[in-house]
Symmetry: C2
Subunit: 191 residues, 2 copies
């Protein structure tokens, strides 16, 4: 990946994430990135392509970061708690890798486009699926009963989604801790 191209993607992501995609124009992106318009259109055929590129960029960043954090914990329950620790750090701006918290970029993008941009939708969906799979892996480490296993996966995904939204809309900076309490409760007899 070209340095220039990556720079454009990073600047575009940052603006899209903070202000919303529709609210940010090409002109603002090139001005912020200090590049010529032609340079942008040399790397991306359209704004739509750039949007998808930012989604893929963020997908990789978040997954890499998440995997790194989880590897530092024991597989299973501890790793699941580490996930919510990570969310807590993200929400309370203690995590420089993920940048200033403004909700989940994928949720926000879906909210903005809905069914009217299928590619955006599909990219967001696959990101969520990847995270779900990670959660699944760690639950597999201690819960063999298929029904309970499924129940835990679904519930933890719900809580994770809830945490981010509660923090964004309600400004609830404790939401990850609330979820942690709930997760500990759910896993109490499983250690």
């Amino acid at each position: 990946m070209n340095n220039k191209k990556r720079h454009i993607i990073e600047v575009a992501f940052s603006l899209f994430y903070q202000k919303g995609i529709h609210a940010v124009g090409i002109n603002e992106i090139i001005k912020t990135a200090s590049i010529a318009k032609k340079t942008l259109y040399n790397h991306f055929v359209s704004k739509d392509e750039l949007i998808i590129a930012t989604l893929i960029y963020r997908d990789q960043l978040e997954l890499t970061h998440l995997k790194f954090k989880l590897e530092q914990a024991e597989i299973g329950k501890d790793a699941l708690l580490a996930l919510f620790e990570l969310l807590d750090d993200f929400i309370n701006h203690r995590d420089t890798t993920l940048g200033n918290f403004r909700g989940d970029y994928f949720n926000n993008s879906c909210a903005e486009y809905g069914q009217s941009n299928q590619l955006v939708y599909a990219t967001c969906q696959s990101h969520k699926e990847a995270i779900k799979n990670i959660i699944q892996t760690h639950i597999n480490a201690f819960e063999q009963n298929p029904e309970k296993n499924q129940f835990l996966v679904n519930t933890l995904c719900l809580l994770k989604e809830g945490v981010i939204n509660q923090a964004l809309v309600q400004g609830d900076t404790n939401s990850a801790l609330d979820a942690t309490a709930c997760v500990e409760n759910l896993l109490r007899f499983k250690r």
Copy 2:
């Protein structure tokens, strides 16, 4: 409230909700509503004012509907389960009052505007607060321990938020049922 004004709000809400606020222009609204542009600007000084009006409209619609549903259940645990039943109906298009499911209008609006429109943000926040208060009331009916009480309120709010987002982004039509299972689990010993 004027009939015409209400009609404009309903049409605008419907379009905003389905396509996103930025994606819908004034011209599309007046065309869909079959009104003249002057009529719209006779009732609202700006698009921003119309946006806020749709948020207030939806806030009242959802709260009225929710209160009506909960009144048909026993105060306490049953009412809380009824809340998630309502979400399930909403997500699976079995509830004509709330219209075609496209996530939570307030979440979507916040996702689209973020901190760049304080009035939108505040309106969304107060809507969420109102729902939280309803949940609080019903938990008060059976849980006197302040800590446990608070824990239940927070967790149920998280689950509620999670359900809507999981359904929107992941297309998970069972998310409300998953949450119901979790809520039943949490309240099992409290009946």
